[in-house]
């Protein structure tokens, strides 16, 4: 039984400069993840970077917290769709482009734009969602699939953004439970995804 599956997609081509990385020893990062840029990319302990996830540190530092999951084709630190917003962000040399708190899940195809974007602890960025440059998403938020957070917006803690931008507050109080679930998911993912942090070092 061969567990090798061949992708129909073209092989990942590394373009752009290779960034300096700062990996924890416990992370899982797939061979075909894409890390580009000039600033440091920091990934804290037990986080999982899926294949073909793209971390781009051209605009600044990219920091991924503990026990985060960045799924396939998700992009952290994409160039801002609205360039004006990017210009508004402080262009300091060591500016943080994207900061993910702990227990953040960035699902398939989601885009987190660069420019001081912060995503708080326990937040789930849904499939195909887009977080604009400089947005600050609070803790334990849920951005459902294909939602868009405008550049510079501040989303309070425990907000659920659903169905074209409707918002409500999550009152379940299951943050702890969710974190535990994510920890278990990471346990599985670590066995599933062959890790190769040495490639990026």
């Amino acid at each position: 039984m061969s567990s090798k599956r061949h992708s129909i997609l073209p092989p990942v081509s590394q373009t752009g400069p290779k960034p300096p990385v700062n990996f924890s020893s416990t992370i899982t990062i797939a061979d075909s993840a894409l890390l580009t840029g000039t600033h440091t990319i920091t990934v804290h302990g037990e986080s999982v970077i899926h294949p073909r996830a793209r971390l781009d540190s051209l605009a600044g530092r990219v920091t991924v917290g503990r026990r985060c999951v960045v799924q396939e084709r998700a992009t952290l630190g994409a160039a801002a769709a609205v360039p004006a917003a990017a210009a508004a962000a402080p262009p300091a040399e060591a500016a943080a482009a994207v900061t993910l708190g702990d227990y953040v899940t960035v699902e398939v195809g989601a885009v987190v734009e660069a420019g001081g974007t912060v995503i708080g602890e326990g937040t789930v960025v849904g499939v195909g969602a887009r977080v604009g440059a400089g947005a600050v998403v609070g803790k334990h938020c849920t951005l459902t699939a294909h939602t868009e957070i405008a550049a510079g917006e501040v989303v309070p803690d425990f907000t659920v953004v659903y169905s074209n931008g409707m918002r409500r507050t999550d009152k379940r109080g299951v943050a702890e439970l969710k974190n535990k679930g994510l920890a278990r998911q990471i346990d599985v993912l670590r066995r599933m995804i062959p890790s190769n942090p040495a490639k990026f070092a």
Partner: protein, 614 residues
């Protein structure tokens, strides 16, 4: 501007202006026009696809059904529907119609929709399961979920615990929910209400501790001495009170009894209203007992519920929580009526009061012809199957019309004799005004007899911008829809001669054309373009109108730039004698013979494309 793919809509004859609200039968002018002798009065009136009325009568072929007995097209508007079965769209459980009367049109199992986002709700345990990865956790991880349950939405993360609704068991949610009020207080049953009314201890207690006890968490009502009754209790109290009044024999007959009959609080009006709700006939009661003036309800026990007009609590809450905390109109509309709640007097509706919505049941319906009552569509009664037992779709009776732009330089066009060069037409491209364009109409015959098609189209399209239309071959015959293999075997023999096949067939199809033309791509009046086993292609030439507006004209309306051609299609064929003359199109004189001449005529609309705006 969105590209427009060519389309064909067929007009159901049921919406004929001269026969409003009535399906087509033998006396309507449409049928007269379709008759053999038929120079009906419909002939000179062109159907206008832009008329507001036409919006409701044009359907794609796929939407139409066909009555085999009337030989007529039936659209969704002119069929009679019958409900075959009711089922819940969530659990696909069929609900007997007897249950429907007693339990309403919502799923009474555990299927609920989220009141916030309409997503499906799932029953989850509120008890947090001990983490098995923690060593300190007690070793009862194998124990099933226990404790209170709530309905949660996995999309917007709404949970019924937010409104204080929790369940003891994970099944039979509907029954449990019916007993619960928002905030978790149980709803009183009729028996409990009666007991409470009798019980003086409860009454004093309720009077002593008035509003805070009864108002519930989210109500926060103003402190009034009156007890807050929910709708059900109030109605029960009122009913008991007035029934007691009606039964009271010693009500004095006043001299003004006749006048008080008219009043709002007169006994007769009241007894009439009561009988509407309680179901008794009121006439006999009125005859036998003319009761005197009644007094009004004075206490909560008698059903008096003063309106609470103090809205400060709601206003305060709006101030603190904002507009986002209120329920939207759509959310309120989706809420099922809830009798266990208090009056809406002085209360705003907040999102925190929304209850889970039991799924509305759906139906499977069979469709009947409104004229002959024959079933023309009947689904399988089982909910899980999507098949139909009977379905007479129009697509298997009337020729389908496909529209395709003809990529052809119009230099050889004999129809227009106009411009020397036309651009090749790509699908979805805009039509150049005042430049002839050609479209290929492919008629495909679905029936097993050869049909004769006659087309009629106005020379100029109706509407403000009249484009010129020329149907190059308005009369032709389509071969029968024979076995596919016949054609395939024939094809293999003449594959080598395939090149001249089209031309040859074109000549044979156009009866009146005589000259043998060497250029097979040439357009010729009276000739069909191409012919196949059961299809025929003909060419329509259009000269789109210029959309230039004269000064003072109203601006272009929506979709007014779409070139739509109304076309009258008459199909004749010889079918087997059906033996009934309900249908209008059936030739009545030929009914005696074994083979019967049949005829069907209808308007259709060809949407060709958008005209370029200059």
């Amino acid at each position: 501007m969105a590209a427009l793919t060519p389309y064909t809509y067929i007009r159901c004859p049921c919406s004929d202006v001269s026969a409003p609200g009535r399906p087509l039968d033998g006396s309507s002018p449409m049928a007269a026009a379709a008759d053999d002798n038929g120079a009906g009065d419909d002939d000179d009136r062109t159907f206008d696809p832009r008329a507001p009325r036409s919006n409701y009568s044009l359907y794609p072929l796929e939407y139409l059904l066909y009555c085999e007995d009337c030989h007529q097209i039936r659209c969704p508007r002119c069929v009679a529907e019958e409900i075959v079965s009711y089922y819940c769209p969530n659990c696909l459980f069929e609900v007997p119609s007897s249950n429907l009367k007693s339990e309403g049109n919502r799923c009474t199992r555990s299927c609920f929709q989220c009141p916030v986002c309409l997503g499906p709700l799932a029953v989850t345990s509120l008890e947090t399961k001990p983490d098995p990865s923690l060593l300190a956790a007690p070793d009862n991880a194998a124990a099933p979920h226990a404790g209170p349950y709530a309905l949660t939405c996995s999309y917007c993360h709404w949970t019924s615990a937010e409104v204080g609704i929790q369940f003891e068991k994970p099944n039979g949610i509907h029954a449990q929910l019916a007993k619960l009020r928002n905030g978790g207080a149980t709803r009183l049953t009729a028996k409990e209400r009666k007991e409470r009314r009798k019980d003086p201890a409860y009454r004093t207690q309720a009077a002593a501790a008035p509003a805070p006890a009864t108002a519930g968490g989210e109500e926060g009502g103003p402190s009034s001495s009156a007890e807050v009754l929910d709708l059900e209790t109030q109605f029960a109290n009122l009913k008991a009170f007035y029934q007691g009044q009606l039964a009271d024999p010693n009500s004095a007959d006043s001299g003004l009894a006749a006048l008080s009959d008219l009043g709002f609080s007169s006994p007769t009006s009241l007894s009439r209203i009561m009988s509407i709700y309680t179901g008794g006939g009121w006439q006999d009661k009125k005859a036998k007992s003319r009761v005197g003036a009644m007094r009004e309800a004075l206490e909560p026990d008698e059903g008096l519920q003063p309106a609470r007009l103090d809205e400060s609590a709601a206003i305060d809450r709006l101030r603190s929580e904002g507009h986002g905390a209120t329920a939207s109109a759509a959310q309120l509309r989706d809420q099922p009526p809830n009798l266990g709640e208090a009056h809406l007097h002085g209360r705003a509706r907040f999102a925190s009061e929304l209850r889970p919505i039991p799924y509305l049941l759906r139906t499977k319906r069979s469709k009947r012809c409104p004229v002959c009552r024959h079933i023309i569509s009947k689904p399988e009664a089982k909910v899980q199957t999507t098949r139909f037992r009977i379905r007479l779709v129009a697509g298997s009776y009337i020729p389908s019309i496909a529209v395709r732009p003809l990529p052809l330089s119009s230099s050889s066009s004999s129809g227009s004799g106009g411009s020397a060069s036309g651009p090749a037409v790509v699908p979805g491209a805009l039509l150049e005004p005042l430049r002839p364009a050609h479209y290929l109409l492919t008629f495909k015959n679905p029936i097993f007899e050869p049909v004769r098609v006659t087309l009629g189209a106005p020379a100029r399209t109706p509407g403000r911008f009249a484009s010129k239309v020329t149907v190059l071959c308005p009369e032709f015959e389509i071969d029968a829809n024979t076995d596919v293999w016949d054609e395939a075997l024939k094809e293999s023999g003449e594959r080598d001669r395939d090149k001249d096949r089209r031309r040859r067939r074109g000549e044979e199809g156009g009866g009146q054309s005589s000259s043998n033309n060497p250029h097979h791509s040439q357009l010729e009046v009276g000739k069909i373009w191409e012919r196949g086993r059961n299809w025929v292609s003909i060419v329509v030439e259009v000269v789109p109108a210029s959309l230039r507006l004269a000064p003072g004209d109203p601006p272009l309306r929506e979709d007014e730039d779409v070139l739509e051609i109304p076309m009258f299609v008459r199909v004749e064929w010889e079918g087997e004698a059906g033996g009934d003359d309900v249908g209008a199109a059936a030739g009545r004189d030929a009914a005696k013979e074994a083979r019967e001449k049949r005829e069907l005529a209808y308007w259709c609309v060809l949407g060709l494309g958008r005209i370029k705006q200059t």
